[in-house]
């Protein structure tokens, strides 16, 4: 069982980390880059698959060389190996050209496995599962996952909150939120290979002691590995991925951003009138004020 987890570096939007200029624009240079918070759920889902079914977890990101630290952060959750797709030609990509680049990377991992594996039967030619987190904290489109799945021509399950892989039958069973509603959960099945987008409601479940012991062991291993994470990192350029520069980066992006408008801030002060609850006249006045807002009458 081979899983690839996609992750992205995003500005750290947490209070105390993020900086904005006077016009409300993000100061990218003054704001640290971190792993997209939603991607942690994708990593946990991949780790759960490894704990229960064995295999390997690769983590992949597209970005400048500085994104190595994002992959390091991912490895601190769990990763066997790391892949960074990094090239000037890939810069300023929208979700579409990002999906093309990532899918090329995922296919190359499969091909590399085929060549590198001493016993070909052990490794399938493409990863059984690709995981992504539910939308990034900066773009917030939620498109990259589905578009990458489309490029790879595999079935996709989104808003996944629980997961079980039946490797022998080549199937995946998942619980997912219907249209992202936490109160409406459906169970779906699909065949492997598949693409899974985890919901922030995803919870790994370990009901067997052997799984918890394995989890503890894998976590200890990855903590050790992360200290020399560079040794487990492979960087691929556009050329190595055999990508046409016209289809990636800014040139390959059909999206046009016409402008960015700051969202006006809500007023910090509001007018308030104190009402004596024991005074029926005052209460009546409140009701009269509210009547036009209530609709109907």
């Amino acid at each position: 069982m081979h899983s690839v987890v996609l992750t992205k570096g995003v500005p750290d939007f947490r209070e105390g980390q993020v900086s904005f200029d006077e016009d409300g624009h993000l100061e990218r240079g003054a704001t640290p880059t971190v792993m997209n918070p939603n991607d942690e759920f994708a990593l946990e889902a991949a780790l759960q698959t490894k704990v229960k079914r064995g295999g390997r977890v690769s983590v992949m990101s597209m970005g400048p060389p500085g994104y190595e630290s994002v992959l390091e952060e991912a490895m601190s959750v769990y990763a066997d190996d790391l892949y960074l797709l990094s090239d000037r030609e890939m810069a300023a990509a929208d979700t579409w050209s990002t999906a093309i680049t990532l899918s090329a990377g995922i296919e190359k991992i499969g091909a590399a496995d085929e060549q590198g594996s001493s016993s070909p039967a052990e490794e399938s030619e493409e990863p059984d599962l690709v995981f992504a987190g539910f939308k990034t904290a900066d773009g917030e489109t939620g498109q990259t996952g589905p578009q990458t799945a489309w490029c790879l021509d595999r079935s996709i399950v989104t808003h996944v909150v629980a997961l079980d892989v039946e490797e022998d039958e080549g199937r995946l069973r998942a619980k997912r939120l219907v249209e992202g509603d936490p109160d409406e959960i459906e169970t779906v099945e699909t065949s492997l290979p598949a693409f899974v987008v985890t919901d922030p409601e995803f919870e790994a479940s370990y009901r067997r002691a052997e799984h918890r012991l394995r989890h503890k062991e894998l976590r200890a291993e990855t903590e050790e590995r992360v200290e020399n994470y560079e040794d487990h990192l492979t960087t691929w350029s556009a050329e190595e991925l055999d990508l046409d520069p016209d289809f990636i980066g800014l040139d390959g992006s059909p999206t046009i951003v016409s402008g960015v408008d700051p969202i006006p801030k809500a007023p910090s002060e509001r007018e308030a009138t104190a009402v004596d609850p024991d005074d029926p006249e005052e209460l009546h006045a409140v009701l009269e004020t509210m009547r036009p807002l209530a609709g109907g009458d």
Binding site: A209, R212, L213
Partner: protein
């Protein structure tokens, strides 16, 4: 689905010293062993006064089972042991190091978070080799029974697990021992309650004020009139750079006097001797509490049922040898004997005989004789009647008694240091309160020092503790809210007090139809999981889920 249950040869519940000893012994005998601990880390749920012993006569000690234990996980060896008899500001101090040294290979002051988490790491390594291991954040809630037989455990966080051996090392509030019918929570007379404050004091200040070197440490006990007549005493133990300061009282006496445990602790904290030691350095970092079983009354003579073997506090194996309390050493011995018993039984192809073998080993190795000394049974039958106590107190406080005390003078120190006498002291107010008070009045010297600090309020003590509250899922339910059934908990609970709204238990006056009644209400948020209310109130008492509830940093 039941065919899908996991199976381990042995499941050890609880990663305190008893569980650690059992697991290490099992693992060394190639028994596949799984250890389940409900805290976020071993030690995070555990409190002790703070002295652990290795007895010369014991078949197993912590340092036998875990080489390097003393250097890595203990605070300071106890090289001097004192008993302070207190009457007001008069103190008569006996050096009882001889009693302490009796049968002692070594003794160390410990803090349980450090100690137990260190042991747990070793245990995980050892048990991992057998195909098992140690897991935290898992609460075992009961016994798995199939066809009327105990066949394993049930957990909140895991599916049921089958095992050929279940070791209940789940502490003083053992849910397994209760499930198996080995222990109950009925009689306050069978329990002590301990309350402790850990106070940070710099290492050089400890060295200077106690006059001790790097490899030395002291233990101090207090008895007399400083605890409002409640039967029990206080202690101060030196750690590397902190002091463990606490009190231990008979639970029935606490209830009878309607005493507030935290206030009794404050009495000790503000005593002139403490004022000298803590001057300028009262930095209390953790308040904690625990029930202590009185092995003389509750140590189970046959602590096993089917595949279940109980060790340590879960089996009532906590010995109060006069003023000296020994618990962890017996848990270690019992844990190792339980492991040994199973390994032998398995070798004989008769694992079901492990319980009987364990019981026999406890007896033959002399553990039971220490836990339930013969002498105590004789003296308690005679000496614990109220009329006898009244008579003894009357004689002691009379001119005759006082003259006898004066005549005995320093020879009393020798009597107090007698291991045999210390085992048979009756549990009455005479040895705890009357005798030390008279000794201090007749022989003591005045100590005058005023504390330059105020003990922390209960509110601050609770506020300093770390909790991961299981919101909406309280682990204790009050079955009977009447003051008659559960009112005692308001004072006896160490994190509750009369006229204090921020604790677990409080009394409220409810008016209905011109009718007034006092009812007891419960909020488990500040609970330190000591178990006091399970004994003194009418509750449905369970431990919180794995990883939830209070988390001790010192312990």
């Amino acid at each position: 689905m039941t065919d899908d249950y996991e199976h381990y040869e042995a499941v050890v519940v609880g990663a305190g010293p008893g569980g650690a000893a059992a697991a290490a012994t099992l693992a060394r005998n190639d028994v596949e062993t799984l250890v389940l601990e409900r805290g976020v880390e071993a030690g995070s749920k555990n409190v002790s006064g703070g002295l652990v012993y290795a007895e010369e006569s014991a078949p197993y000690t912590l340092s036998d089972l875990f080489p390097g234990f003393r250097e890595a996980a203990a605070e300071r060896p106890v090289t001097d042991y004192y008993l302070h008899n207190v009457a007001g500001d008069r103190v008569k101090t006996f050096d009882i190091t001889d009693l302490h040294d009796h049968d002692t290979e070594w003794s160390e002051a410990v803090l349980r978070r450090t100690m137990d988490s260190w042991l747990a790491e070793r245990v995980h390594e050892l048990t991992r080799e057998t195909g098992g291991g140690l897991l935290t954040d898992v609460r075992v809630e009961g016994l798995l029974r199939e066809g009327g037989e105990i066949t394993g455990v049930t957990c909140e966080e895991l599916d049921p697990i089958r095992a050929d051996l279940v070791v209940a090392a789940d502490g003083v509030n053992s849910e397994l021992a209760r499930d198996a019918g080995l222990m109950d929570w009925e009689e306050p007379e069978e329990w002590f309650q301990g309350v402790k404050a850990v106070v940070d004091v710099p290492e050089d200040v400890i060295a200077e004020r106690f006059g001790i070197g790097d490899d030395e440490g002291e233990a101090h006990l207090f008895s007399g009139d400083l605890f409002e007549g409640v039967r029990g005493g206080g202690f101060v133990y030196t750690n590397r750079d902190s002091l463990s300061i606490g009190t231990v009282f008979h639970l029935d006496s606490l209830v009878a006097e309607d005493a507030e445990p935290h206030e009794l602790l404050d009495e000790l904290l503000t005593h002139p001797l403490l004022a000298e030691w803590l001057d300028g350095h009262y930095d209390e970092v953790e308040y904690s509490a625990k029930l202590v079983p009185d092995s003389k009354k509750v140590a189970h003579p046959a602590p096993h049922r089917g595949r279940l073997l109980a060790v340590g506090d879960a089996a009532g194996q906590m010995q109060a040898q006069g003023p000296i309390i020994k618990g962890m050493n017996h848990a270690v011995t019992a844990g190792a004997l339980a492991g040994e018993a199973f390994a032998e039984a398995k070798l004989r192809n008769d694992p079901a005989s492990a319980g009987d073998l364990y019981e026999r080993k406890l007896r033959e190795e002399g553990v039971m004789a220490k836990l339930r000394p013969q002498g105590y049974r004789l003296t308690s039958a005679l000496g614990e009647r109220e009329s006898v106590t009244d008579l003894a107190d009357a004689v002691l406080t009379s001119g005759v008694g006082r003259r006898a005390i004066r005549l005995l003078g320093d020879r009393l120190e020798g009597l107090y240091s007698s291991p045999i006498l210390s085992q048979i002291v009756p549990d009455t107010r005479t040895p705890y309160v009357t005798m030390p008070t008279v000794i201090a009045e007749e022989l003591g010297e005045r100590v005058d020092a005023d504390p330059d600090y105020e003990p922390k309020s209960l509110l601050d003590r609770i506020g300093d503790l770390t909790y991961d509250t299981d919101v909406g899922d309280p682990h204790i339910e009050l079955r009977d809210t009447s003051a008659a059934a559960s009112g005692a908990a308001v004072a006896a609970c160490p994190v509750s007090a009369r006229d204090f709204g921020g604790g677990c238990y409080r009394e409220e006056t409810r008016k209905t139809n011109g009718h007034e009644e006092t009812v007891v209400s419960l909020d488990t948020q500040p609970c330190v999981e000591c178990g006091t209310c399970a004994v003194v109130a009418d509750t449905e008492w369970e431990h919180p889920r794995g990883g939830k509830g209070v988390e001790f940093r010192q312990g």
